[in-house]
């Protein structure tokens, strides 16, 4: 295997390598695994394709996303080789024009690509969708999410304050990757709803804000929980609604909330319809700030004059994605998108033979 990256020779100590990468602005501020040729080759062996193959130029600096560069960054992040097909699939998804990666990378908005993994490969590599899935403690989630960020920084060139112009950024920019808790999902998982077979492994990227908590400890019916979800989804400061045609909401239901809603015989489409009808803000409130005056709305919404009229935050129920993730407890989350990026899904197509169950 021929690698083309520049080689640096450094003192062989964790401190020296860490310091050298920090000095060069080559890491996210956390210690890294040294990307030796041996480690990078092991990473590359897990996917089909030559090291020099590029998935495309990565914005905002339009550097080529070669498999080799992706692998170098995946090593640095701490990925095991079997995680790498997920990283590659996510980069392929982010490069779909519908995802508008340039906007996601360069905006002042605190958006990060949330990676959601569905299918048997998630289980094979231990991608976690249970208790605390948005938080620490799970190597696959932590290192796959971190690898994406290092790639966006080192290959894309999106450094805070320099091409990544996020005003405050977000903790989600360190790492934002989960599996769906398919076992606890009373409906079909995300990828099946998108038309993939249940035994396909599919990665989805969603350009979202950090999770907004939905605490509902008292509702025993679908309507109560979804009222709380809807209220969380409709806030003046969130990006969704201002550019309506590009607004999407991701509703991440905790298993207990999902079970309660399903026990009311709600389908996933019922969930979407309910949230679409209830996640609304009155015109009078929208006039208070946010992006009032520079919104991009359809003609009918621009014509509304009644300050009490309730206006939607997304254009249709289809713009609401519903997944189930998390563990025990009465919490869910709403992830509003940045309104200039649409969710994109890709099946994992570059898998090579590995010791796990066949995806």
């Amino acid at each position: 295997m021929t690698l083309r990256s520049e080689v640096l020779e450094l003192a062989d100590s964790a401190d020296a390598v860490y310091a050298a990468f920090c000095e060069r602005d080559w890491c996210d501020g956390l210690p890294i695994i040294p990307p030796t040729a041996e480690r990078v080759e092991a990473m590359l062996a897990s996917v089909a394709g030559d090291p020099e193959e590029s998935l495309g130029p990565l914005p905002p600096l339009w550097r080529e996303a070669t498999l080799e560069k992706l692998a170098v960054n995946a090593v640095m992040a701490g990925c095991l080789p079997e995680y790498f097909p997920v990283v590659v699939g996510a980069v392929e998804a982010m490069l779909d024009p519908a995802f508008n990666l340039y906007g996601v990378q360069a905006t002042t908005h605190p958006v990060a690509p949330l990676l959601i993994l569905n299918g048997p490969y998630a289980r094979a590599i231990g991608m976690h969708g249970g208790a605390g899935c948005f938080g620490p403690g799970f190597r696959a989630n932590a290192t796959i999410g971190r690898a994406l960020r290092l790639i966006l920084m080192n290959v894309g060139g999106g450094w805070p304050g320099r091409h990544d112009m996020a005003t405050q950024g977000s903790p989600a920019k360190f790492c934002y990757a989960i599996a769906e808790n398919e076992a606890a999902n009373p409906w079909t998982p995300l990828h099946v709803g998108l038309g993939y077979a249940p035994d396909r492994s599919v990665v989805t990227v969603f350009g979202g804000e950090g999770p907004h908590n939905v605490n509902d400890h008292v509702s025993t019916a679908a309507s109560g929980i979804l009222n709380t979800v809807s209220d969380t989804a409709a806030t003046l400061g969130s990006n969704v609604k201002w550019y309506l045609s590009q607004s999407q909401l991701l509703v991440v239901l905790g298993p207990e909330h999902a079970a309660t809603i399903a026990a009311d015989n709600f389908s996933k489409d019922d969930v979407k319809a309910f949230v679409f009808e209830h996640a609304r803000l009155p015109l009078g409130k929208l006039k208070l700030g946010g992006m009032w005056g520079i919104q991009d709305w359809p003609r009918w919404m621009m014509a509304v004059t009644d300050d009490q009229a309730l206006l939607p935050v997304v254009a249709s129920p289809e713009e609401i994605l519903v997944v189930v993730a998390g563990g025990a407890g009465k919490h869910s989350a709403v992830v509003p998108n940045c309104t200039f990026s649409r969710a994109v899904s890709r099946p994992l197509t570059r898998l090579r033979a590995h010791p796990f169950s066949t995806p």
Binding site: S5, P35, V40, R63, G103, V155, G157
Partner: protein, 98 residues
Amino acid sequence: MTHANRIRVLNPVGEVKPHVLAAPALPSDLRGKTIGFLDNTKANFDRLVADMGGLLRERFGVKAVVLRRKANAATPAAKEILEELAKACDVVFAGSAD
């Protein structure tokens, strides 16, 4: 690979594939020219452009100013807008008010 307490590591930074873009030179004199502004829709860009358009006419002899607005700040300008500006204007300023 490690040699005598040294370690060899790979540079993680991506590389740009060289592209050649041919762009016409900017005119040295704006007299009689048509100037375009692409409004990114953020607050006050329209006011800034109104003032700049006036200055360009008064001080630099610009013939006409064309103002076009994107649908919103977060997406690229429509192809039709870019084609129209390219056809009508000698110079175009892309707005980035924020």
